[in-house]
């Protein structure tokens, strides 16, 4: 096809604006995706510096869980946000990962440094299983959501019956002293940095998927399956890939979780409350956005903990009240999440910068 040279005015694709190297900062700000990515790294950096200011193990614990929830939120966002699938019972993947890591550690003495990445495999297999089944039988939308919930309940019961996995009581990691090799620490600070490492991996993978063919195909499936198919997108294949990616990443999150909290039991990791807790961050942060899950976790977990602290006498129920209220508030008034709120200000910033660029050219 002959390619006539296109004429671009300043209002167009920021990628085609020639930007002097010293204006890379401006270049990032002009692209909403890149801005979000930069924001993600900034948050990671700030959290990384937090041990300089935070001593209390209690507060550090909150930060660690916030980071983990952000990571799991990013994982969910791939199939739930980019591909737009109604994945509700995704804690099963997290649970598979947790059990994998603890079994490898307790029964086979394999270090979590291997055990956590290894957690991706059973989780991804479960993801493939779910994808296969739901695609084969055409389970969509609410039926898909209900299926994942039913699976969660069944798996919970099954796991509680297997002695090798600790049965109904679950499994725990006994403290055998400080050990880098076994990821066993007295202080919480090393766990924070491991969590941040996980989050960084999550951010990079998440963004890479978004900008790649994979990401575009997933978004196409979300927006309009029929149109996507007519453009050569193999719907089943990409839905499966999306689900497996989410599952694998969630599995790693579960692996870290069990090493950090040293405990896992079926009612916890196959239970709806924990599932909802993991779901809140990407939803209120902004489903399908790049920084949404991180912002959502930042908003969610610390707020929950602070309110819990304030009501220390009446602990029961405060967590649930906050999660429930947050979910409802956002679904009613801010369905696009926190990131959605930031879109307009960014657009204004962008117009301002573009006008400045134009005036600079003169």
């Amino acid at each position: 096809m002959t390619t006539p040279q296109p004429t671009h005015s300043e209002q167009q694709s920021s990628s085609s604006i020639t930007v002097r190297r010293s204006n890379w900062f401006r270049a990032i700000l002009l692209d909403w995706d890149k801005t979000q990515l930069a924001l993600s790294f900034l948050i990671i950096l700030l959290i990384g510096l937090s041990p300089l200011f935070i001593d209390s193990p209690y507060l550090l614990g909150i930060v660690i869980l916030t980071v983990l929830y952000a990571y799991v939120g990013l994982a969910w966002n791939i199939v739930g946000g980019f591909a737009g699938q109604l994945l509700i019972g995704h804690i099963s993947f997290f649970a598979f990962g947790a059990y994998t890591t603890i079994v490898l550690l307790n029964h086979y003495h394999i270090s979590p440094w291997l055990g956590i990445p290894a957690a991706m495999i059973p989780a991804a297999l479960l993801g493939a299983f779910v994808a296969l089944l739901t695609l084969r039988y055409g389970l969509k939308l609410d039926y898909f959501a209900l299926f994942t919930l039913a699976l969660m309940v069944v798996l919970g019961i099954v796991f509680s019956k297997i002695p090798f996995l600790g049965g109904a009581i679950g499994m725990w990691i006994p403290f055998r002293g400080e050990s880098w090799a076994m990821m066993s620490f007295v202080s919480k600070v090393p766990y924070l940095y491991i969590a941040l490492l996980l989050l960084t991996i999550g951010v990079v993978v998440h963004y890479a998927v978004y900008r790649s063919k994979l990401g575009k195909y997933m978004i196409a499936i979300r927006e309009d399956e029929a149109a996507a198919a007519a453009l050569g997108v193999n719907i089943s294949k990409y839905k499966t890939i999306a689900l497996c990616l989410t599952a694998a990443l969630s599995g790693m999150g579960g692996g870290f979780y069990v090493v950090y909290t040293t405990f896992v039991e079926p009612p916890l990791v196959f239970g709806l409350p924990f599932n909802v807790e993991l779901l809140v961050a990407p939803i209120i942060g902004g489903r399908g956005t790049i920084v949404g899950p991180i912002l959502g976790a930042l908003l969610n977990k610390p707020v929950v903990e602070m309110v819990r602290g304030a009501f220390s006498a009446e602990r029961a129920g405060t967590t649930l009240i906050i999660y429930g209220s947050l979910l409802m508030f956002f679904m009613l008034f801010l369905p696009r999440g926190v990131t959605g709120l930031l879109e307009k200000p960014h657009q204004k910033l962008r117009s301002y910068l573009l006008r400045k660029l134009e005036s600079e050219k003169e």
């Binding site: 209900l146 039913a150 129920g317």
Partner: protein, 289 residues
């Protein structure tokens, strides 16, 4: 396995099924009219139980009298929830609806825990353990009454929907909202009414089981997912299906408990659920999609 045990299991299953049916009927009615999966539905059961508990503890009202109280409270509660919270998201994407009702469910549970503490409470009335003996069968009175009540309510609901003007309006809305509107049906009012009825039915179920179950703020969760199984099995929107489905699941769980052990009872209903979702998602009474 001796026949007496099988028969008893069957009876237990039917009684349990009657309760499932009541919860599911409310849920399916709401789904049929508004096409929304109400994850908060089982919390209405929990509230019904607590209404019964507080009425008994504070005022000495017998649970069965509390039914009237529960009906009124839950009907209003349901109608208000529909008007204030559900109505705005009816046009929103499915995930938003699901998350809204999930959030509502979480919130209600949290509030119950906060105000009413998390420990189990019970209504202690001697009546709770009295039974009727029919041959070798032991029919626990409260459960029997609950079962009869569920049949009565089902029949009542059936006639309400088929014969009364309001009932027909509800059915019209579930079949074709736009056409119903064109014939002068106030759809908004019907939505509120339906949600209220659905909530009330479930609340009544809560009162009915209050003599037999300890109440905790999370008791709704136990019934929640089973209610979904029943609704899907009986075809979404079909309340007769919900009744029959409820009985089937109740009996299945009872026998599951008998042969597999009571802690894995849920596997049976979940197993049925998964099979139905995979092989016959339109339920027993639906047409092939």
């Amino acid at each position: 396995m001796p026949i007496e045990i099988l028969a008893q299991t069957l009876v237990n299953g039917l009684f349990l099924g009657g309760i499932y049916a009541l919860v599911a009927m409310g849920l399916t009615l709401i789904y049929g009219v508004m096409i929304i999966i109400n994850f908060a539905h089982a919390e209405f059961l929990m509230i019904g139980m607590y209404v019964s508990f507080w009425a008994f503890t504070l005022f000495g009202i017998h649970p069965y009298m509390a039914i009237i109280l529960a009906t009124v409270i839950l009907f209003l509660f349901g109608a208000l929830i529909q008007r204030g919270l559900i109505e705005p998201v009816l046009k929103a994407p499915l995930l938003n609806q699901i998350l809204l009702t999930l959030g509502l469910s979480t919130l209600i549970m949290g509030l119950a825990q906060f105000f009413w503490r998390a420990e189990p409470r019970s209504i202690l009335i001697p009546f709770a353990s009295s039974s009727l003996r029919v041959g070798d069968l032991i029919l626990n009175w409260p459960r029997l009454i609950a079962f009869i009540a569920s049949i009565v309510l089902t029949i009542g609901l059936y006639f309400f929907l088929k014969k009364t003007k309001t009932g027909k309006a509800i059915r019209a809305c579930s079949q074709n909202r736009v056409a119903a509107q064109l014939t002068g049906v106030n759809v908004r009012k019907i939505y509120m009414l339906t949600f209220g009825i659905g909530a009330a039915l479930t609340g009544i179920a809560g009162v009915l089981i209050s003599p037999n179950y300890p109440m905790t703020p999370t008791i709704g969760q136990t019934f929640s997912i089973t209610a979904f199984v029943v609704v899907v099995l009986g075809t979404m929107g079909n309340f007769v299906g919900a009744f029959i489905g409820g009985l089937i699941i109740g009996v299945a769980e009872a026998f599951g408990g008998l042969y597999l052990g009571s802690d894995v009872r849920q596997v049976v209903s979940m197993g049925i659920f998964i099979l139905v979702l995979l092989l016959r998602p339109q339920g027993l009474f639906g047409r092939m999609i």
